[in-house]
Subunit: 132 residues, 3 copies
C-alpha cells in the first residue's frame, strides 16, 4: 500500500514494531505523534517531575522536527494531556523557552484518566507546518 505520506523518524532511530510513526509528513504538513518522556529503552525520564518530563518531550520533538528540516518555529498547534493538573502551570516556563514567543502556537490542555506509560505525567502531540 503506497502511502500518501512519508514517515519522519529521528536520527536516533525507531522501533519498526510500532504501528505508528513518530512523525508523518505530507505536503508541508507534519503530524507529530503524542509523546511521553520515555527514552529509547522504554524508561520514563524525570519520574515525578513534570517540568523535566516536558523538557524531555520537547527534546524528542526537536529530533522529529529536525528530521523534517524543521524546528519549533514550525509548530502551529500542541495538545497536552495531563495526568494531574497540580503542576501543569509549571510547564509554561518550558514552553516559554522552547517557543520563545510571542507569537506562540495554539494549544489545548486537558486532564486525562491515564497515559499508556504509567510513570508519564504529560503527553504532547503537535502539528507543524514546513516552510515552503
Amino acid at each position: 500500500m503506497t502511502k500518501v505520506y512519508n514517515a519522519v523518524v529521528p536520527a536516533s532511530g525507531w522501533n519498526e514494531k510500532f504501528t505508528f510513526s513518530p512523525g508523518v509528513r505530507v505536503g508541508n504538513l507534519l503530524f507529530i505523534s503524542g509523546m511521553t518522556a520515555t527514552d529509547s529503552k522504554g524508561n520514563v525520564i524525570g519520574e515525578g517531575d513534570i517540568v523535566r518530563q516536558t523538557e524531555f518531550i520537547f527534546e524528542k520533538m526537536a529530533a522529529v522536527l529536525a528530521a523534517a528540516g524543521a524546528d519549533f518555529s514550525n509548530v502551529v498547534e500542541t495538545t497536552d494531556y495531563f495526568v494531574d493538573l497540580k503542576d501543569y502551570d509549571k510547564t509554561a516556563a518550558v514552553r516559554r523557552k522552547v517557543f520563545a514567543g510571542p507569537p506562540y502556537p495554539a494549544a489545548t490542555g486537558v486532564r486525562v484518566a491515564g497515559l499508556i506509560r504509567p510513570a508519564a505525567l504529560i503527553e504532547i502531540k503537535a502539528i507543524a507546518v514546513l516552510s515552503s
Copy 2:
C-alpha cells in the same frame, strides 16, 4: 525565532503572559486553541450550565474567527472535552444554531478527567480553513 505562522488575537485583546495563542494562522489553516467559558477576568460564565458555557465558548470562538476574516462556515472540525456526560446532548442545540447545518463540521467528543478551569464543564478546540 521567526514563526511560520501568525497569531490570531480577538479584538478584545490577549494576555501576553500566556504561552499559547488563541488562534494561529498559517496559509489557509486556522488552529483555534481549546477554549472554556472563561471571561477576560478569568471567571467562568454560566457556572453549572453547560448550554450557557457552550454558547459563551462559541462567542469567544467567533471573535477569533472574525480576527482572521472568517466565521463558523470556515470551521471544519471541533473537539469537545466534557467533564460530565450528563448534559452533553444539550450542546447539540447550540451547535445547530451556530453551524446552521447541514452540512456540519466533523466532531469528536469525549469525557476527560478534568479541565484546567475547575468550574468549566466543557472545552472546545477547532480547526478552520480560510477561503482562498
Copy 3:
C-alpha cells in the same frame, strides 16, 4: 451559510439530526469525526471486546474514506481514546492489518474518563490527506 467544506457521508447514509458530519472534506484534507463501534441502530458491536470494536471502527472509517475516493493509505494521523488501558495493546494487531505499514500514520492514544456510548471501549478520530 455556505460552508468552506463538503460533508463526506458513507454510502450507508447518515442521520441528518446529528450536528456533525462523519467526515468533512476541504481541499485535499479529510477530517474524520471520532467514531465508536456503534452500528446504524445505535448498538455497540463487540461489547467487551476492544479488538472487535477497533475492527468495526475501521470498517466504518473505510466507508467514509471510500466516499471521498480515499482509503487507509491516505490516513496521516489517528487519535485513540481508550476507556481502559488493560487491552489497548491488542489494537496494534488491527492497525498492522489495516495500515499495512511501515510506514504508519502518526498516532496518539490516551485514556479518557468516558465515552458518549457507555459500551464503547475505544473511539478513534482521524485526519486523511487526499491524493492530488
